[in-house]
């Protein structure tokens, strides 16, 4: 076990990446995929996973050229400090927007399912307070926590979904491959929203104890996430069919609510499911706060990350109150993904990689 050097093992980094992505996006992913590709929505998820793998490949190829540098540091070396400041500030904003929308969605679902009378601010403070404390303790703390949390999130979640397999009708996935390839491609692109958090790959190299194998590990982690998303989408599509799923606000949550557990003494397993999800949102919030504070510290050039974490909370809260309702949250998530999301997942890393190669900067692969 590594200790107090702010470095994490490959396994820990893989776990963190899985936890950071496994958030609210999963709840609506099957609906989004079915919106474009109908019963072929699961093919769109395969497409989205391939796109995500390509983005990870680009981001890791760039980051491993500067294995000990932070994102701000290597982008300053590549394109100069002024533009690096602009890009990093944009990145901070993007993280704030993502977190705000994620937390708002989380608050709405909590209100709908569990705590109808609890004010949103209390839910917000509850989750961000703990996440901010964890984030202020550094990367290593998050990595160790991830090792515990992964067992509390993924394993029970997967088991519960597997129980759902007993009540699904796989003929709902028929006919196969009848959707327009363009629709499937569009579905793949939009399903990419669920991979929000993947851009944190750009920050991970300095924290890895084994930089040599990190790229491969991150690709494996992305494949695992893609596989989980595919599994969930197939089960949800088979459960609801391509027509009814379109009317579901949170298809995955709805599906989990309807699963009959053996023994059947637990009737409201949605509350049970919320436990896993609270942990996952805690992890995503922690990651967002941690990386945004590092970026802010790099841009300003002084101060402690914990101060920036605290300062960011009111900003995120105000941003999260901006959408009128859940539909607006989804709309804004879409807009954020298609603009800043794609920019930081692919366009900016690709641009930086090309400039670094042209200027022969960084270590050779």
């Amino acid at each position: 076990m590594l200790s107090y050097n702010d470095k994490a093992s490959l396994r820990q980094i893989q776990i963190l990446l899985v936890l950071d992505i496994f958030g609210t996006g999963i709840q609506v992913l099957p609906r989004r995929a079915a919106e474009y590709a109908g019963q072929d929505g699961w093919i769109a998820i395969i497409g989205a996973t391939l796109l995500a793998l390509f983005c990870v490949l680009i981001m890791t190829t760039l980051a491993k050229k500067f294995p000990d540098d932070s994102f701000f540091s290597y982008s300053s070396k590549i394109i100069g400090r002024p533009i690096a400041i602009l890009i990093s500030a944009g990145f901070v904003l993007k993280i704030f927007f993502s977190l705000a929308l994620e937390l708002r969605l989380f608050g709405e679902i909590i209100k709908e399912i569990m705590l109808g009378e609890t004010p949103y601010l209390v839910v917000f403070l509850g989750i961000t307070g703990v996440a901010a404390f964890a984030a202020s303790k550094g990367f290593e703390t998050r990595a160790r926590m991830g090792e515990i949390l992964i067992y509390l999130v993924l394993i029970p979640f997967t088991i519960l979904i597997a129980f759902g397999l007993f009540e699904v009708d796989f003929t709902n996935l028929l006919p196969v491959m009848t959707s327009d390839p363009q629709d499937i491609a569009r579905g793949s692109l939009w399903s990419g929203i669920s991979f929000t958090g993947l851009e944190f790959v750009l920050f991970l190299y300095p924290y890895s104890a084994n930089k040599k194998d990190l790229q491969k590990s991150l690709l494996h982690a992305t494949m695992l996430i893609g596989f989980l998303m595919l599994f969930i989408t197939i089960v949800a599509l088979a459960r609801f069919g391509p027509f009814r799923i379109l009317h579901q606000m949170w298809p995955v949550l709805e599906m989990l609510k309807m699963i009959r557990l053996p023994g059947a003494f637990v009737e409201r397993q949605d509350a049970f499911v919320m436990t896993f999800w609270i942990i996952s949102v805690f992890s995503i919030t922690g990651a967002g706060l941690f990386f945004s504070s590092l970026l802010t510290k790099d841009i300003i050039g002084k101060g402690k990350p914990s101060i920036y974490i605290l300062a960011s909370l009111p900003v995120i809260y105000i941003l999260s109150r901006f959408p009128k309702d859940i539909s607006m949250v989804y709309e804004l998530q879409g807009k954020l993904f298609i603009t800043m999301g794609i920019a930081y997942l692919f366009i900016i890393p690709f641009f930086l990689l090309i400039v670094a190669n042209l200027r022969r900067l960084g270590e050779k692969s």
């Binding site: 399912i113 705590l115 009378e117 709902n172 028929l174 009848t178 609801f240 009814r244 309807m258 009737e267």
Partner: protein, 383 residues
């Protein structure tokens, strides 16, 4: 200093425990069944409503268990249930009004049954609104059983089934015990069928001689009632979907009645295109036991016995096959409703045929042919 910080933290932890949304168990009213009726105000009521500027359209009734009466022997002279109802312009507003009539906070998470009254299923708009309100309500499980009645849902809820504490629990238990022998339709399946084709077959509940009778079905097309199926007619749906285990089928054979108890059934649908018509072949195989025949008239000779059984099997094959085709013809010609969900099956299994026709045309193009095979495996304790 460390100790003081520690104490402050602990006090903070104590302060944030507990639940903002807690409702004590005794303050919660568990709604077991829900009835939705249409509402037409009398003249006097109308004039009163005009004053309030609200025109009620729904009459919602709920049935709550009286736990004390159910738990105590003899019920202590109290009724086992309380039925409350209220009217409102929308389903939710009426539900809200009932909430205000009760000292308890109503909870719909344990609701087992929703009964749709005649006025609701006959009116497309009211039906749409009622189903929408049910599926939007996060407390209501998508597994609640949906029933249709040609009477008032309130009367069904008011009915007290003999030796059963509550209507909702009676129907839900009845369903659990006979789920393969009656049409199983919960809110999830209903919304699935309605969102695909606007058609559904909903199990019927009736009042008969001060008892509840569950059987037959309402046929819904374009989100409104188009007709009713009898118990025998609605049975065809079970054959087509490969269900029916546990069902008892009586028939006449050689001037006597026999009963077949179904142990299992399988159904395979194949579709072919012929002369711009879609031929649907339903291969249905049924296994069962003969539970009744005429006393002392069964053949003891093996060959004769086999011939006799074979004749009975044929009689059942003919009966069931006729039953299926007859029901399909009623659905196709009278009700114009795809109650057997054949167009969805064509879409799934024969997409090439499906895409040649418009969705609305498919039902008219189908010719159903039922090939039923019945195998009698046992004849009870006698030869």
């Amino acid at each position: 200093m460390k100790n003081i910080v520690c104490i402050i933290w602990l006090v903070c932890c104590l302060c944030i425990t507990g639940c903002w949304d807690k409702v004590e168990l005794e303050s919660r009213g568990f709604v077991v069944s829900l009835g939705i009726d249409g509402y037409e105000a009398s003249e006097k009521e109308q004039s009163e409503q005009n004053k309030n500027d609200e025109q009620s359209r729904f009459n919602i009734s709920i049935s709550l268990p009286n736990v004390t009466a159910i738990a105590s022997p003899g019920g202590g002279g109290e009724e086992n249930k309380t039925v409350k109802s209220a009217v409102g312009r929308t389903v939710s507003s009426a539900m809200g009004k009932i909430d205000s009539l009760s000292s308890q906070k109503l909870f719909y998470g344990q609701t087992r049954v929703a009964v749709l009254g005649k006025d609701i299923i006959e009116d497309e708009q009211l039906f749409r609104e009622a189903i929408d309100a049910l599926q939007r309500n996060p407390e209501i499980s998508k597994k609640i059983i949906i029933l249709a009645t040609d009477e008032k849902a309130l009367d069904i809820l008011n009915m007290k089934p003999a030796n059963e504490p509550l209507t909702g629990i009676y129907i839900s238990n009845f369903y659990e015990n006979t789920k393969d022998t009656v049409l199983l339709l919960d809110l999830e399946k209903l919304t699935e069928r309605l969102s695909y084709s606007g058609c559904a077959i909903i199990l019927r509940v009736q009042l008969e001689n001060d008892e509840l009778k569950v059987g037959g079905a309402a046929v819904v097309k374009d989100l409104r009632l188009t007709g009713w199926l009898t118990e025998e007619e609605s049975r065809s749906y079970l054959w087509i979907t490969g269900k029916g285990k546990g069902m008892h089928i009586p028939t006449e054979q050689d001037n006597a009645y026999t009963t077949l108890k179904v142990n299992g059934s399988k159904s395979k649908l194949s579709f072919f295109e012929e002369n711009e018509q879609i031929l649907c072949r339903a291969d249905i195989s049924i296994e069962g036991n003969l539970e009744e025949y005429h006393f002392l008239q069964n053949a003891l000779d093996d060959d004769k016995r086999e011939a006799e059984l074979s004749e009975i099997e044929k009689a059942y094959e003919e009966l069931i096959s006729k039953e299926i085709v007859n029901t399909f013809n009623i659905l196709q010609n009278e009700y114009k409703a795809d109650g057997f969900e054949l167009s969805d099956k064509i879409r799934k299994f024969n997409y090439d045929i499906y895409r040649k026709y418009k969705k609305d045309e498919i039902l008219d193009k189908i010719i159903l042919e039922a090939k039923v095979t019945v195998k009698i495996h046992g004849t009870g304790s006698v030869m």
